[in-house]
Structures are given as structure tokens and as C-alpha cells.
Amino acid sequence: MKVTFPHMGNAWIVIQALFETLNVDVAVPPPTSKGTLNLGTKLAPESSCLPLKINLGNYIEAAAKGADTIAITGGIGPCRFGYYGELERQILRDAGYSYEVVILEPPDGSLWGLAKRIRYLAGRHNSWTKILKAIRFAYRKSVALDRVEDLIHAARPRLAEPLAAEKLYSKAKQHLIEASEDKGLEEAVFWVQQSIKECQAPLRGEKPLRVGVVGEIYTILDPFSSLDVEQQLGNLGVEVNRSIYLSSWVGQHVFQGLAQGYHPLRDYPRLAKPYLPHFVGGHGQETVGAAVQFAREGADGIIQLLPLGCMPEIVASSVLPRIQADYRIPIMTLTVDEHSGRAGVQTRLEAFVDLLERRRIRTLTREDVLNVARE
């Protein structure tokens, strides 16, 4: 048995760590690329959402590395992701791939069923204590990754050299991949903090613009799917805050709220209440709640990310204009699919950031106008 799983941003680091601690043979799919997406798009239903297409591409590429079992989480709706596992099984079967799909969820609410599936993946040689320990360590790794990612978001607009933050980020990720105990995780985070302090450029005048990124989790966590929106914003001198992190998703979705992750999701439903008092599946309500939170915290703008046709996010996006009006904060919705182009996204981001910059200079003096003209 060789296990594989779909990519979602940095999630592979955590999942790989989990399986390797348990001595399970694992094949990490090659990093998602345009080619991956093309492979997936060919097999996936035309109007299915983007993550499904990328998932399928990942599996096909992992099959070339010898993978024969897929581990994926499930759900009971009403977001389409909950049914990915079963649909992907059928698609891969009909396309001639002999994959076994293990959906990690309590089937019909049965925890015993979930335990059996975990046992199936982990094999006989692991005790439950060892399995739980491995899960806990993987979770802590995801928290460390989120902390590093957050630091990088803050670093991008502050470091003098544009690529310095990316270099730092990939080095930090390497440290975290290699870390096999808690001490290593702590050190990696500390190292990133120190490095940022050392090469931080002296602030020129104002603090960087702050933009909250909210929306569908896959497009937020996976830079490939969003065409590096967060990095592009960082390069435009914007500090990005996001509504949802990997560890908070794990905490809520996998541990059912027993752990809260780096940035808890639990406040969002309460904040969303005046605008959307009921959950709508996926993270639709969280998107609305996070938008309210960012608006209250005084962010300069909010960007909602979603894959084309995402049902919960469409509901959220039809509610967001009311938040925009109530809090007088610009909100932009950015929809991505397999046809999205980098230049198109870049143009929209630049226009949005321009708008935010102008808003800062609300009352223009004669000198301001001259300065803008000189620039």
C-alpha cells in the first residue's frame, strides 16, 4: 500500500509528517502545476469546482509515483467537498486508475467506522497511542507552519529586497519539513522572527496597507489555485491577514472543535449573525464573520476569494455588499477557475490597492496633489 492525498497549500508537509511518523509508505504528489490542472480538468465534470479538478490532477501524478490508496477527509454537506471522495473514486475508476479511496470521516456518524479506516491506513504495527501521538505532532506542525506563514505575510511589505521574504519562506518551510520534534518547530519559528527583524527595512512613513483575505478555504490556502494572490499583494506593499488557516481548519473539521488552531474560527458565526444568521456549508458564514472582524479591526480593504461556482461563497458574496456599506470598507470578490490568468488577477489587485491608497489620503492638500503628480 502506498498512500497519497490531494495538495492544499502547505498541507502536504503536515500529512507527510503524519504518515512518515507512522512508517506508512507515502507518495506526495508533485507540486501542483498547470499540467496537473490540465490533467484534472480533462477528467472532472465541466462545472465542478476548481479544487476537484486539481485533486484529480494530483492523484494522476501521484499514480505515476506508485500510489494506490487515496486518503481524503469527508463531510456531510452541504458543501460539495464532502462528496469529493466518492465522486473522485468513480472518476478514477472509470479512467482506469486502480485507486482505493479512504474517506476519513465517521461514516453515518459512527466513530468506530472512522477508527477502522484510520487503522486500515496506519496498518497493524502502530498502537493507538502512537497514532494519537503522531496526529498531535502533525497538528503542532501545522500550527507552526501557520505562524511562519503569518510572519511572512507581515514581512513581505517590510523587507527591503522583494525576494527576501520568499527566500526566507522556503528556507523556513525546509526547516519545518525536517523538524521531527517540538523543539525543531519552535526553533524554525524563532529563526524566521529573528531573520525578519534583522533585514527589516526602516519604515518609510506610514504603516503598510492591511488587507483581509476571506473566502473559500482551498483558494486561500493553496497559492497555485489563487495565482499567488497573497504573494502578489505582498509585492504591492500590502500586509495580508487571512480569515482561515490550515490548523484552524484541522481543528474544526478534523478534531471537531477540540483544538482551535492558530487562528480560531469560533468567533465568526457570532460576528456574521446580523448578516447571515445560519451556516450555509463550507465556510460561507465564516467568510461573512471574518469580513466583519477585519472591518472592525480597521483593515484597509477586504478581498473575497472563491472558485467559480462555489455555492457557500456565492451566498456570502451576496451578503458582503451590506458589510461594505455598513463599515465603509472596500470589498472585492475575486473568482478563480482553470481559465484564470495571472495578468488578469494582477491588474485587478493593482487597481484595488490603488483604490485603497487613495482612500488613505482622504483630504488632499495642495501639496499632496503635487506629490502624487511628481510620482
Partner: protein, 341 residues
């Protein structure tokens, strides 16, 4: 007090329930007119452009209600109608997601209808709703019983094979009045002997039963074939169709479409299956693919028609004719024509 009920989305499934409930409360429930050009145009103008056709039509119907002397609009949040399933996220987001398009001065009455929480909680919610309107809890309980009765009656009528117009007309006087003119499920001019085919039209009832939205597809189909709908399928048939799945489908509608579709495909008496979907439908994107796989395995003629606000009648007719020709030839010659183009 006159309460308006837009003739859109869950109207096509659950109107008898709400009609019964409001009768129990002794309140008048008025439905919007049948979908027409103006409804669609208003919907396109006022609704979010990224959402699906049914929600756009809903927004259009809400506008249409504003000229009808309605005091308030009734738009329940239908979360779940049975255990273990949900309705579509877009229905869970009602009414908030269409608030922006509700005409000024029109109140919105809403409640969360969630059968997953059990009947007791549902009745409690209905009582609270009734009390908010100055009615008593007893009236609400009475209304709930009547509602269940009416809904069951409607569903059993459909299982018997009666048309949508006829069954729904019992609860919706407007439909009964216009049924002869616009709701033509059985074309009176049709030569019965000419219809050699039986075709199952699977899809959400708000598409299959809204003759404006589906460009009068049912009548056109009816000229050459007997048409079967998913509502005619008894629950056992649906269960049977779902058997090949490793995981149960968690959307009520998709479950019904999937199960009925698979059953029709396996049914010898059905010659072909048409899946009527609309652009941007999330659940259809998955069920449609799974039904297609079953059709391919069993060599049943199968076609997907996707509607949107730009659908043209000519394009639809061409595809329909080609499909029916192909199916007819297969049936008459009993030879092995390819079932999927």
C-alpha cells in the same frame, strides 16, 4: 394580512406544505404569477450575477409580488426536510442573500425549517413564527398537521403519475385556472399512437416544471414521447437507484435525482434519459456526472441539457430532435446505436 409566496425554487416541492400551514393560521397565501419574460428580466437585473438561474428567477418573482398588494413576503430558510440531508447551500442562504432585491416596504417573514433537529423543534419554530404573527400555538400545531397532510397528498398524487399542474392546482388556485393554457404536460393535440418512446426527464422540479425557464421543453418532448419525472418515482425506486454508491448523497434533491435517474436508466420501459440542469448548479455538477456514468455503463441514451438565461429555443429543439431520433432508431431497429454520440 396577505402573504406573498414567490413561485420559485422550493415552491415546486414544498408549496402544499406551506399552503396548508398558512391555511391553518387562517392567513391568505398568494403566489406570484407564472414565470414570464418580465419576471426573468427583473431577476437578471436585481440578482447577483454569479448565482444560478433558479435564484435569479426567485428574485424576479419577488419583484412580481410587489405589485400584487402583498403585505409581506414569506421566504422560509429550508435547511433540511428529512434526516441526514440538507438542501442546497443557496437555499440555506435565503432570505439574506436576496435581501438587497426585496422591494422597499415589503416585509420578509422567515423561519428556519430544519427536520434534522427533529419534529418537536420544527413544531416549536412554527409556533414561535405563528405567535409573531399574532396567532396561537394551537393554530400553528393545527397548521402543521394540515401542512403535512397536504404535502403527503400532493406527493402521493405525483406518485400516481398525475401531472404537476393537476396535483399542484389543488393547492394553488392560480395554477388550476391556468393549467389548461400554459401548463401542458399532456398535449391534447398529440397523437397517442405516435409517441412510441418513453423518456425520463430528470432534474430539479423548478426547472422541469417551470415551462418558461425550460423553454416549454416538456410540451415539446410530449409531442413525441411519454415523459416521466422524478416525482413519479416511489421512495423504494429511489433507494434502489442509490445502491451502487459508497457514500450516501447528502443533498435531498440531488439524492432524489440521482436515485430516480439511476432507476430510470435501469428501467426497460424507459428508452432514454434527459438530465435538465442549469448553469452554475453546484449539486447538479456532481450528480449529473454520476448519472452519466451509470447511463454509459448500461448503454442507455442519455443527454444533458443545461439552461441559463441565454438559452435559445432553436438550439434546444435541435438537440432534442437529434436525441429523440437517435433513441427512436435504437428502439425500432433494436440495433446497437451508440448511446452517447
Amino acid at each position: 394580512m396577505k402573504v406573498g409566496y414567490p413561485r420559485a425554487v422550493h415552491y415546486y416541492d414544498y408549496f402544499p406544505f406551506w399552503a396548508g400551514f398558512f391555511r391553518g393560521l387562517d392567513l391568505e397565501l398568494i403566489t406570484s404569477p407564472l414565470t414570464n419574460r418580465q419576471v426573468l428580466e427583473q431577476g437578471l437585473k436585481k440578482a447577483s450575477d454569479e448565482t444560478c438561474l433558479p435564484i435569479k428567477l426567485l428574485v424576479g418573482h419577488i419583484q412580481a409580488l410587489s405589485g400584487m398588494g402583498v403585505d409581506a413576503l414569506f421566504l422560509p430558510r429550508m435547511v433540511s426536510v428529512e434526516e441526514k440531508t440538507y438542501l442546497c447551500p443557496k437555499l440555506l442562504g435565503l432570505p439574506e442573500s436576496v435581501f438587497a432585491s426585496v422591494p422597499e416596504g415589503m416585509g420578509v417573514l422567515t423561519l428556519d425549517f430544519n427536520m434534522r433537529q427533529g419534529k418537536r423543534r420544527v413544531i416549536r419554530t412554527l409556533e414561535e413564527f405563528a405567535e409573531g404573527l399574532g396567532k396561537t400555538g394551537a393554530e400553528a400545531r393545527q397548521g402543521f398537521l394540515l401542512a403535512q397532510n397536504w404535502q403527503e397528498h400532493y406527493e402521493s398524487r405525483r406518485h400516481e403519475g398525475r401531472s404537476f399542474g393537476e396535483s399542484m392546482g389543488e393547492f394553488d388556485p392560480r395554477l388550476a385556472g391556468e393549467a389548461g393554457r400554459t401548463i401542458r404536460f399532456d398535449n391534447p393535440d398529440r397523437d397517442e399512437s405516435a409517441a412510441v418512446l418513453t423518456v425520463a426527464l430528470v432534474g430539479h422540479p423548478y426547472l422541469t416544471q417551470d415551462n418558461y425557464a425550460n423553454l416549454n421543453l416538456v410540451a415539446k418532448l410530449g409531442e413525441r414521447a411519454h415523459v416521466r419525472f422524478i416525482e413519479e418515482m416511489e421512495p423504494q425506486g429511489i433507494e434502489q437507484g442509490l445502491q451502487g454508491l459508497h457514500k450516501s448523497v447528502f443533498w435531498s434533491h440531488a439524492r432524489k435525482i440521482m436515485g430516480a435517474g439511476a432507476s430510470y436508466i435501469g428501467d426497460e420501459a424507459v428508452d432514454g434519459v434527459i438530465y435538465l440542469s442549469c448553469f452554475g448548479c453546484g449539486t447538479d455538477s456532481m450528480t449529473q456526472d454520476m448519472v452519466a456514468r451509470i447511463a454509459r455503463q448500461q448503454h442507455k441514451p442519455y443527454m444533458v441539457l443545461t439552461l441559463d438565461e441565454h438559452s435559445g429555443e432553436a438550439g434546444l429543439v435541435t438537440r432534442l430532435e437529434a436525441f429523440l431520433d437517435m433513441t427512436e432508431r435504437r428502439v425500432q431497429r433494436e440495433s446497437n446505436f451508440s448511446a452517447h454520440g
